[in-house]
Amino acid sequence: MTERVVIVGAGQAGGRAAEALRAAGYTGEVVLIGEEAHEPYERPRLSKSVLIGEEPAVAACMHPREWYAAHGVTLHTGARVEAIAPKSRVVITADGERLDYSKLLLCTGSRVRPLPGAPDALAGVHYLRTLEDSERLAAELVPGKRLVVIGGGFIGLEVASSALKRGAQVTVVERQATLLDRVLPAEIAAQVASLHATHGISLRTGVPVARILGNGAVKSVQLADGAEIAADLVVIGIGVIPNTELAETAGAASADGIVVDEYCRTTLEDVYAAGDVTNHHNPILERRVRLESWQNAQNQAIAAAHNLAGKARPYAEVPWFWSDQLGTNIQMVGVAEPGMQIVWRGERLAFGLANGRLRLAVGFNMGGEIRSARRLIEARAPLSPQRLADSAVRLKDLVTEATCSASTP
């Protein structure tokens, strides 16, 4: 049989993996299978420029359709893989087609978490994940609309920001006491809350949604404390669920994501995984993570492609994330952990330390400094909180010191 890599999932990770297989010199067949109708696209702008109406949704596509054939990638869109038979090395599609593989890469991504009890067919109620979701929502976001965003995570807050720019009246409801509860320490998240409040977005934190009311079309959102917020539009953004079922059914280990090692290998022979769907060990942070980010979708997929092509490449990067909201570029490197020591350097840059080592940095319009912070996290050297907080000490100088001390035995 011809050497063939089959990639299941044609999102950003799947697309980047196909591209990187060719860049790594892989000469076998590459087959990329995706359930959505589109060629691979990146999602960041779906909650930003597309919603604002600055760009068409198709601008998110990574390459035009012709690119795939021209690079020897067979792209099947609108095709669902039903099962994997790892012993016979075959994937089976919903149409009953059987496709042999030499190596398999799972980039099945994640799907939106449904809000329990949310009515199925109420006009004006949206989730945001796909290109079509973004287009549908953009079409309804017109000036004067009253929007309630359920979920104060990054997606919800970006939707709130874009909707405000479109002239909507926006309320964000978050059941936890603070916004971004899962990803940021409370005192850093408070900075984001103040950004939204300053721009006139109404925030309701610490209260769950009781029900979405309406008859044919949404009319209001009722909160558990009895409050009722009038709504013409509702966007539910309460997180995603990794699409692990295909791998699990085939017998792969799964624990909050498909378990992979640093070479992106699952517990099944010749089956790899990359992107949102993986739970992987991060050697810099020395812990397991599952990351829903642009960086991870791209770079873990590229690492996986190199490993599939026989060029061993461990995936080891400090997690990095950006969000553009209300004219502010928020960037974070590292991960938030309970009990971190928080140190501010001015009002726009915050650090999280554990055991005297930097594990997290969050910047508001501080991209250059965040980049230095990434180096400091990588160095894993002990840092003085006083010097981190002192704007007179250049972060770049701290990087030089930390990398020198890290290389000293």
Binding site: W294, W322, N329, M366, G367, G368, I370, R371, K396
Partner: protein, 103 residues
């Protein structure tokens, strides 16, 4: 048109960038490896000043989304940037730094 002096360029340290406006055009001046480079200061991906970015390994990294440009050629070196940024010639004469806007 032609050569424009960059005031304050002597203060630029190694691996540092500064943003200036020359003839109404935003320009980033960067010193790395002892050499000076000049490039259009606005990222080709979204609006951000490259002079606020990180200089490393002969590249400047956009502060917004970490796309990278080669300082010598302006070529895109890391996603999400795909379009090159314009670069300009630089010369130093009598301790003064000049950029050729070539317009």
């Amino acid at each position: 048109m032609g050569w424009h002096e960059v005031p304050g360029a002597h203060a630029l340290g190694e691996d540092e960038a500064m943003g200036v406006v020359l003839n109404e055009r935003p320009v980033a001046l960067v010193r790395t490896g002892g050499e000076l480079h000049a490039l259009h200061n606005v990222c080709t991906h979204q609006f951000a000043l490259l002079s606020d970015g990180y200089v490393e390994d002969g590249c400047i990294e956009c502060p917004l989304h970490q796309g990278k440009f080669d300082l010598r050629t302006g070529a895109p070196k890391a996603p999400p940037v795909t379009e090159p940024v314009r670069v300009y010639a630089v010369k130093t004469e009598n301790g003064k730094v000049y950029v050729d806007l070539d317009d």
